[in-house]
Symmetry: C2
Subunit: 159 residues, 2 copies
Amino acid sequence: MQQKNLLIKMALDAWFAQISRTNKVFQQLDDEQLKKEVSPGKNTGVYLLGHLAAVHDAMVPLLGLGEKAFPELEEVFVKNPDKSGLPKPAISYLRTCWTTANNRLETSFMALGVEDWFQKHTAVSLPDFEKEPHRNRLNVLLSRTIHIASHLGQLNLLT
Amino acid sequence: MQQKNLLIKMALDAWFAQISRTNKVFQQLDDEQLKKEVSPGKNTGVYLLGHLAAVHDAMVPLLGLGEKAFPELEEVFVKNPDKSGLPKPAISYLRTCWTTANNRLETSFMALGVEDWFQKHTAVSLPDFEKEPHRNRLNVLLSRTIHIASHLGQLNLLT
């Protein structure tokens, strides 16, 4: 296998491994458990579920793969903290958002060729990308994989 | 820049970013704060410090870059859980282990060329590596970067 292909495989394997582990934790936690804080005074499982769903939904436009499906999540779960007082959607809805966002990403990822991963993401301008060619789709994948891990470590505290 | 070089740069950037963030958290937390559990009944900051130091120290032989400097950490911080009852080294010593392990890795990483990252790690046999060429040094780097993130998410709860 070509080394470049190998790298894409490694990055995708890491992404899907984190998604799979996080799915297991969300399946294991019922709604009551999700309402608890991961540590006293810190984020609840519900907030982390909404946050991860919002961030993954936002990856679709960031990677130039389409539009957000759940743009309303950003205000509650990205721009504002857990204790903002803003009303939160039902947990069952957030669970659906999380799964839908990841399924949409998976479908798009499977259709991308190796070279597509080296194209710029949409939050960087073309002149900046020419100077900093690492600001590509693959880098978004890596950084979001790390992002899942940081919150999965916290969600594990609820199990 | 060649795409393969770019990928190594991206993976190393991600590693060093996680190390840097974790260093900041460990510097911010004094020894008393580190003795606290990240959530009631869960691991203490001290255990996570020892655990990360042990895992990073073990990366040196795993990557074929030398011997462990602190082999005694494995029993307490990898093979056994926080509440094992085993005596733990002083926190100041663990802080030194953490920094030393990362500095040794950084020195070795800077000396590795692009192709070196595609060579097998030492926990996979040559026949297995021929079938599964993604079991290389770069994959260790990626998975350990994700590993730091999962514990950094927990350590952040102490700040």
